[in-house]
Amino acid sequence: MMNSLTRSAILSLLLFVPDVCAGDAGTDFFENKIRPVLVEHCYSCHSTNAKTKAGLALDTKVGVLEGGDSGPALVPGKPSESLLLTAVKYAGETKMPPAGKLPDAVIADLEKWIAMGAPDPRVASKAITIDEARKRWAYQPLSGVGDRGSGVGKSVDEWINTRLAGKKLTLSPAADARTLVRRLYLDLLGLPPSPEQVVEFVNDTSPKAYEKLVDHLLANPQFGERWARHWLDVARFAESSGYEHDNDRPHAYQYRDFVIQAFNHDLPFDKFVQWQIAGDELAPNEPLALKATGFLAAGLMNGQVTEREVEKERYEVLDDWVGTIGTAFLGLTVGCARCHDHKFDPIRAEDYYRMAAHFTSAVRVNLNVPHDPPAAKRMIAEHQRHIASLEEGVRRFEDTKAHGPAEAWRASTPKLPVAPWLVMTADDTQKGKTRRGLESDFDLTPQPDGSYLFTRLNGDVGPIKLTTRTTLEKIAYLRIEALSDESLPNYGPGFGNHGNFNIDSVSLSITGTDGKAKSIKLEKAATTTDDKPGGHAWSVKANNLGHDQAAVFKLAEPIGNSDGAGITVTIHCPGDSPSARQTIGRFRLSLGLADTDASPTGIDLPLEVYERGIKELAGDELTPAVVKLYCLNDADWQRLDAAMRTAKRDWRWPAHDLAFGVTEGLPPYRMMIQGPDLSDTTHILKRGDPNKKEAVATPATLALLTRGASSRWNVAFVNDAKTSHRRAGLARWLTDAEQGAGSLVARVIVNRLWQHHFGRGIVATPSDFGMQGDAPTHPELLDALAVELVQSGWSLKAIHKRIVMSATYRQASERRPDAERIDPENTLLWRYPPRRLEAEAIRDSMLAVSGRLDARSLGTGTLDENMTRRSIYFTVKRSKLIPSMVALDWPEALTGIGRRTCTTVPPQALWAMNNSQVRKYAEALAGKLAGLTPNDAVTHGFELTVARPPTASERLAALKFLEPDPTARLVDFAHTLLMRSEFVTIR
């Protein structure tokens, strides 16, 4: 196996690397004397393209040197030791060629050739290096990119015609207007034209009619819905995690919407690429850029990972990112270099890991995407200023106006105010081990208001124990406030998919001076979330997200010790669950005394201030703590304090969406995973094994496609940035057509566009431009389009227009026996290639012609097959793919694919015949034909479904079908129109 692999590897290199000795005397001798002999007498049994009898291939240099079952065919320079010579001389057991001995002169030539050292220009004799590989067409920078406005040297048609002429072929004549208008609608919108739209185009006799239609369709928002789906295949887009649990990703649809909008707005393709890798870093103020990071997030993620597997799993995620970036943008199977240097392309394992290192700290998250990020920033800042000023007002009151009355109050025999909620700050915080006995790894950062915010969470979270010491007695309540925060998904208060959280249990214990801890039973008494009382768990779900919430728990008995006691509150809020992380994000704990108004939204003071105030009340001085105590009963203070608390409670975060994407510095989306989500470093791994770490991988772009210094792409580190900006650098390299990978990226995308317009790319392997990929049929055309893309400011619509305006695109699709004989596969495009539509376009066409299409765009999808929106709005759940779509070759969304398979199997026919939705479409279509004469119904049915009236024989057949009972058979007739091949064919 190795042998044949190596051989084919070397062979494929040969095709592209010119041999250094081409053109010298030895080569001339080979070409004139040797090659013709080999071709005539040997190749039929010994060539890689026919047979390799006895394992011997003589059509390559490698084949000759490696030889076959009996060993090398020859030893250069040593005719006497060369089996080939012995065989042709009929001097040994093997006599070749078997049909008869070669003429002596020929044998003499062979002998001379071997003596010369067997010069053989057919192969490169050494393994490919990066410098050599760069000479390959795909890896060269596009020439002429820098000369803006130079335009495309030749038109699309000229390049196509040149190749056709080489085979004495010509383009077919232009397709008729009805065919063209249907072709354009299906190709650009994925929907057929209505009869009115057909007539409008057919009747428009102006020379600009076609161009007008092209412009019109490119500007239609349904264009994005059509072309986004092509990209979603490449992006392995799905809305669930895959694997056994296949957890939903309710906000993943935002990425699909990003792609639709990007295509509709003709977002420059370089930005389109950059945002998908690092939109959060490069354009944080663009909602679409944040949603674009869903590209990275879309891959599979194992939902249940053991500690042993956890590190490997992280490398799987990195692999998904590197591999998908490779195939999607670069058309390179970079992922192959995970375990070893790439066998065919000059990509070393080190390149792979250094590319992966850009993503070391990248994590999947549910991102807050404000509708207007700058405005949202202003709004939040304004709110914070407002709160600060209210707090300042309270403080000023305490520092000034309150002094007089407070002094009077203190001088009298002060009656202690009813105790407010007393906010605990911890003297001691302990991280308990996780359920599975692992260490918790997180940062819990105290906030000025006495709350705690998870600022870093890496892995599962065990019970958190916060202990405070107090001499208070009669502690009777515990309040937990769950507070919203900018850093939390949906602004919190939790880390769940929607900002929800789930506290499994909360418990409280008291430790006296004797060091003995006694746990006190808790029972939920009241919440702002309308929970039923009872129990010691609390969760915040759907309706209560995005603002502060609180729950009060009553202690089974009042506790406290005037000599001092430790009060420990333990919150168990596990980081994992089958449906994603549900850890609380920011919380504040308060104790209430027996007389406290135990309403969840009650007034509060820091416990420490309250305790100190009581102590200091006995002294002679009016201390700030004493003033605080006084104020609790002061009506003016109460008004100010209430205004401040109301402002906090009533705050509504800016209008926003959640989007499943990727960023850094936030706790990652997480499922049942044991151990950390990520580590600080990415290593180069030996054979892909995390247990065999080699050097730390520092981020670097692929050497093969890097012609400039990394400083060219690096983004200066921004001080307050939460992210490393490593991805930003990678993204800029990807789109740099001069010194980075941009030339290849441009070639790959224009080839994808070409493929979808013509059914086959100029390079037939759209995601593999490497050594194993197919060679382009029209390399100059590919480059010309790529250059034009870059020069147009990376406008995809410019390329679409360039392609569909060509005569090549506008030619007829009819068969031509003369041309078929020469080019049976139509590789050279002597006709427009008819082909079956994709699953989405078939179903969408049925909806459209039956008038049932619900054209609302964007937003959440559904798994309901009865939906009547376009098929791109089906939710892509990996374990529950929409069956009718799957029957029509929907991709599995496991890895990106550049070209769908196209099958023709009876289950597709069963769907068309028996599926209840299809029948409904047929009924609706029949409804449009009802009331017409049979003749008109046939005409209109054809016009609706295939944009043309029937031919005479078709009409005859249809009328005959309807004849027994035109009314009763109308639905069956309409149904047959939907089953027809022409209906599901773009031609």
């Binding site: 008819p834 082909r835 099958t903 023709t904 009876p906 069963l910 069956d972 089953m979």
Partner: protein, 461 residues
């Protein structure tokens, strides 16, 4: 053909040839199609194939290729071990004896491990080839090879070639049906490519039954047979374009139409007797899924389905026979899922007189190494150098053991049988000459066996 199976399939055959001759279209695509020669046929016993595919690569030395030396040299290094044979090169340890006990069974005294107590009772019907070897040590390419001859994508699968060569005996059912894991463990690597038609017309690709829900969706006719018949007749008139793909598509409506009545009947295992159900192990949770598939396979070949392939296990690793970790647990589990149903299938076919005309094949895409893949629970890594395949029925010679591996079961050494040879033999048993069963594509006559393949005459009865 008529001579062949006593079935007047000649018309079908000729019309298909005619169809291929006159058409030249393709799925966006046009290839010149031609059957090179009708000389590919010879009389044979087998009419159908049931291919029990143990996905992931079962270990020969833990199943049917008994190696006492492994006990003797347990923990010792494997001499001349090329570690690159393995997929995980750095994880290879020493020789490891089989965790399963072997014993001799049947008149033939064939060695079978205790993984297969039921199958052990049928050994005298089996025709073992112990010297199989493949080219790739990687699931994807190896699956391509075992299914389609070359360790690359894009070539027609064996099932497609057979249906292409022999046509179908029942126009009402697909000629080639595939069943995959129904326990949610995924499809094998390469997914539908494993049973794809490659460059053959799309009608020859395997039809895989849905692994969730009813086996074939939308099977219940939406209208009466008369009305659907009329619809399809109209469809044929309206779709007469001469494009190859469109012809294939119209053809698929015909098949679908007939499938509506034929398929539910073929899948209706509920009507089988309790005795039969018990025989297959349908009541046993651990093997119920595979038992149902084996029973459906029998019902299908009974009704003339040409090729049925059943995949045991899903994607890879612990979801299949891919015992990298814990070979003992892994193989115990998957043998438990398949042993009774496979044995029952053989018994059932035999007593119905169907074994004669049904070639049952059992193998994976490669074997496993005799050394341990190191770990707390040791496994075995991929080994394309040796694996065991067995045939039963269909004109295979029962009760023989052909070829042998070295004393450790590491490498096939005696009467080596390549995947091409296996394919040549299967085609031969089906009455097809692998060198003459060709299809012209891109200017070249392609074969399942490429330019290789030798019929293993020793296993032909």
């Amino acid at each position: 053909m008529a001579i062949l199976h006593g079935t007047p399939d000649l018309t079908r055959y000729l019309s298909r040839r005619e169809f291929l001759r006159r058409t030249g279209g393709g799925c966006g695509l046009l290839a010149l199609a031609s059957l090179s020669s009708a000389e590919s046929l010879h009389p044979a016993k087998a009419k159908s194939i049931i291919w029990l595919f143990l996905n992931g690569g079962p270990s020969q030395v833990d199943t049917f290729d008994y190696k006492p030396a492994l006990e003797k040299y347990d923990g010792k290094p494997l001499p001349n071990f090329d570690v690159k044979t393995a997929f995980f090169v750095g994880q290879q340890g020493q020789l490891m004896k089989s965790p399963f006990a072997f014993a001799r069974h049947g008149q033939t005294g064939s060695w079978v491990s205790d993984l297969f107590p039921h199958l052990a009772k049928t050994v005298d019907d089996l025709s073992f080839i112990h010297s199989c070897h493949a080219e790739s040590n990687n699931h994807g390419p190896a699956l391509f090879q075992i299914n389609a001859g070359l360790p690359r994508m894009g070539f027609p699968s064996l099932g497609s070639w057979v249906v292409y060569g022999l046509g179908t005996e029942n126009k009402n059912l697909p000629g080639f049906v595939v069943m995959t894991d129904t326990l949610g463990r995924g499809l094998p690597k390469n997914t539908a490519q494993n049973w794809g038609a490659g460059f053959l017309p799309g009608t020859y690709q395997g039809v895989s039954l849905a692994f969730q829900g009813p086996p074939v969706r939308d099977l219940t006719p939406g209208a009466s047979a008369d009305r659907q018949r009329a619809q399809i007749d109209l469809l044929k008139q309206l779709d007469a374009t001469g494009e190859r793909d469109i012809d294939a598509r119209v053809q698929s409506f015909e098949t679908a139409f007939r499938m509506q009545t034929a398929a539910p009947d073929a899948f209706a295992i509920e009507g089988e007797s309790e005795e039969v159900k018990t025989l297959y192990g349908i009541e046993r949770k651990e093997c119920a899924h595979f038992a149902r598939q084996c029973l459906m396979a029998r019902r299908m070949v009974e009704r003339g389905v040409r090729v049925v392939q059943i995949y045991s296990g899903g994607y890879e690793n612990e979801r299949s026979w891919d015992g990298h970790i814990d070979i003992a647990g892994n193989h115990r589990q998957f043998a438990g899922e398949t042993d009774q149903p496979m044995a029952a299938l053989l018994t059932d076919l035999k007593r119905r007189g169907l074994l004669e005309s049904t070639l049952v094949i059992c193998c994976g895409e490669f074997g496993r190494l005799p050394v341990a893949q190191v770990g707390a629970k040791p496994g075995r890594d991929h080994n394309p150098r040796a694996f065991t395949a067995w045939f039963a029925g269909g004109g295979a010679k029962p009760g023989i053991h052909h070829g042998a591996t070295d004393e450790f079961g590491y490498e096939a050494v005696e009467n080596k049988v390549s995947v091409h040879d296996l394919h040549a033999t299967v085609l031969h048993l089906m009455g097809l000459n692998h060198e003459n069963l060709t299809y012209r594509f891109n200017g070249r006559d392609y074969r399942l066996t490429d330019v290789y393949g030798k019929v293993v005459k020793e296993v032909v009865a």
